[in-house]
């Protein structure tokens, strides 16, 4: 192979390595917007152009919710019991493995479940015999629970407290 040919081969060889890294780095820079989690992603006020294209950006955010930190039993055999809420779900029922074991003849073994999602707590009936009532209406699906709203299970009534 001639000297010029060898030079070309060497250039191509290093060129290919550079090209590979150009691909990697340009991919990373394309992701830059996605990788920023905090400040940059929460764009403050949308520009007029962005707002025209996406009117929903102009809606004001809902007022901050009151976070629930405690579960209180207000009525029934266990009245007065309190439980601190952590980030793990809570199982309510008569079964021994439940988080709050209800000594209530009208409650099922695995009666209902409270679980956090986002900044809210949700309550869900686990197919109990006598049903779970949130603010007087029977649950048919998982619903969010605001602090102070009573949840009735058999004779027991529980509430979330801030």
């Amino acid at each position: 192979m001639s000297e010029a040919g060898e030079l070309t081969v060497t250039l191509l060889r290093y060129g290919f390595l550079v090209l590979l890294w150009i691909l990697v780095l340009s991919t990373v820079s394309a992701l830059r917007r996605d990788l920023v989690v905090g400040q940059r992603n929460k764009t403050g006020t949308p520009t007029a152009r962005e707002a025209r294209k996406n009117p929903e950006l102009l809606q004001e955010t809902p007022p901050p919710r009151i976070q629930a930190h405690q579960l209180v039993v207000t009525e029934g055999p266990l009245a007065g019991t309190t439980l601190d809420l952590t980030s793990s779900p809570i199982l309510l029922g008569r079964a021994q493995e439940a988080t709050l074991v209800l000594e209530d003849d009208y409650a099922s073994g695995r009666h209902a479940r409270l679980f956090p999602q986002g900044s809210r707590w949700f309550v869900e009936d686990l197919g109990s015999t006598n049903g779970t009532f949130l603010a007087g209406s029977q649950l048919t699906r998982a619903l969010p629970v605001e602090p102070g709203v009573p949840i009735r299970i058999g004779k027991t009534v529980i509430e979330l407290r801030p």
Binding site: R13, L19, T27, E50, N54, P62, V149
Partner: protein, 472 residues
């Protein structure tokens, strides 16, 4: 959550730009690989270039029409990896092209690339939403079982001691590669349904919450499946892959460390028993520990010659590599399938191979990002499981080649010669693209305010802070 309000952008133009770079890499690699033969612009070169440009554009246009908000970097990364692998296979063909009985592998692999990308395109067009797959939870369990059993039927073929292939008219097919997708669908469907049961029930011992026995049953079943693959098909790699997949998915579903500990214990027991009972596992282990022993090196079968030759190749490559077509990666047996990373490491050097590893890392991280963004549990688990299989395969292959762990015969995703692996991995890419689309697509009715059911207040009416859609 609701204060993250970036303007939804489809980012397809970014993808088009990256695609251009990726295609340059893929076609450039092929060009440099043929440079020594003085016939760079032959018909194979043009077929390869046309296939990559055509197929890349096809998927790009389908994404523009069908999945506008899909992740913009997945397609370029995968296309570049596929192109580099194909170029290396072609380059290894060229060393043996003068032999009379040799049929080149690269044209066949190029054909499989076309088939695989077309299959991904068909999946993108016809599967509108990945959640449809959830209906097939138990069907996909049956399909996986059938696929895993196929090689044991008379259709099966035994190559190099492992019985994981079946012969299908034109060639061989590895059903286990497709089984990893169907198994991921089953695990995702099963775990997203039964997650709470596994999470809430069970005794607590110290810091560990142990699951109940009946919840443990599917885990034990998965363990038996992977042990069965190990015993009857004698394939260590696939059994590690299947069990690792299940362990990762159950950890993602429950976030319980106890499951990982149980899984590691089961692996330990299984590994120890396999080491005692099966000579091929014991030989693998021995040729990992004592690789540089001359006796072990020359032993046949089960010697360490392959992995040591690979290490010599990596060493001669050094930092910048010998250059495409300048090294001798053909000295390693199975250089174009099992050992393709060693071949690439020799010719592209540490700098090149770390770029390739970076591409895999980016691909896997995009899979997990799609899992984080999507809102349904099934999609989250499926994206996690699928991207984890790619990560685990890379770990097992690269770890085996660099002698971090014993060498097991798994394929390097998108690179190794082998059609079934390529097909399965492109289908995984199509699924990840679909899931990432649901993750990034803006909600049709604005930010999160209306995607949750409204809270019921004390009087049974919605609280004033959250007006319903109707009230607005």
């Amino acid at each position: 959550m609701s204060d993250v309000m970036t303007v939804p952008k489809s980012r397809r133009n970014v993808e088009a730009l990256l695609l251009l770079v990726a295609l340059t890499v893929a076609i450039g690699a092929n060009y440099i690989a043929g440079l020594d033969r003085e016939e760079q612009f032959n018909s194979y070169f043009w077929t390869q270039a046309a296939t990559f440009v055509g197929m890349g554009l096809l998927i790009h246009i389908i994404l523009r029409v069908r999945a506008k908000y899909a992740d913009p970097v997945i397609l370029p990364i995968v296309l570049a990896l596929n192109g580099i692998g194909l170029a290396m296979i072609h380059r290894l063909d060229l060393t043996r092209i003068d032999e009379a009985t040799f049929t080149p592998v690269a044209p066949q692999q190029l054909l499989w690339t076309g088939v695989a990308i077309s299959a991904a395109a068909v999946l993108l067009v016809f599967l509108k939403d990945h959640r449809i797959l959830r209906r097939f939870t138990y069907i996909s369990l049956i399909v996986s079982a059938v696929l895993l059993l196929l090689p044991l039927t008379p259709l099966g073929l035994e190559i190099n001691g492992a019985r994981i292939w079946i012969s299908v008219g034109i060639g061989t097919f590895q059903p286990g590669e497709v089984a990893k997708i169907t198994l991921a669908i089953f695990f995702a469907g099963y775990l997203s349904t039964n997650r709470d049961l596994i999470l809430l029930a069970g005794k607590k011992i110290g810091p560990l919450q142990l699951p109940r026995f009946q919840d443990l049953a599917p885990m034990i079943a998965a363990w038996f499946v992977s042990i069965g693959v190990l015993i009857f098909q004698r394939d260590l790699g696939s059994s590690i892959l299947f069990f690792g997949l299940f362990m990762a998915m159950i950890y993602v579903a429950t976030s319980r460390v106890s499951w990982v500990l149980i899984g590691l214990a089961l692996i330990g027991v299984g590994g120890y028993v396999a080491l005692q009972l099966f000579s091929h596992v014991a030989l693998r282990f021995d040729s990992w520990i004592n690789a540089f022993d001359p006796e072990v090196y020359n032993r046949n079968p089960g010697g360490s010659g392959q992995v040591v030759q690979g290490l010599f190749g990596l060493a001669s490559g050094g930092l910048v590599g010998t250059g495409f077509g300048q090294g001798r990666p053909d000295l390693v047996t199975y250089a174009n399938s099992d050992m393709i990373i060693a071949a690439l490491g020799e010719e592209l050097g540490l700098i090149g191979i770390s770029a390739i590893v970076m591409l895999y890392v980016l691909l896997v991280s995009r899979g997990f990002r799609a899992a984080l963004g999507t809102k349904d549990g099934f999609g989250k688990l499926l994206a996690c499981g699928l991207s984890f299989t790619i990560a685990l395969q890379c770990f097992v292959v690269i770890g085996g080649i660099t002698r971090l762990i014993p060498l097991t015969g798994l394929t390097t995703p998108f690179m190794s010669a082998g059609g079934s692996s390529l097909l399965a991995n492109w289908l995984i890419v199509a699924l990840l693209l679909l899931i990432s689309e649901t993750a990034r697509r803006p909600a049709p009715s604005g930010p999160l305010t209306s995607s949750f059911p409204d809270a019921i207040g004390l009087n049974g009416r919605p609280t004033p802070g959250n007006p319903t859609e109707a009230a607005r």
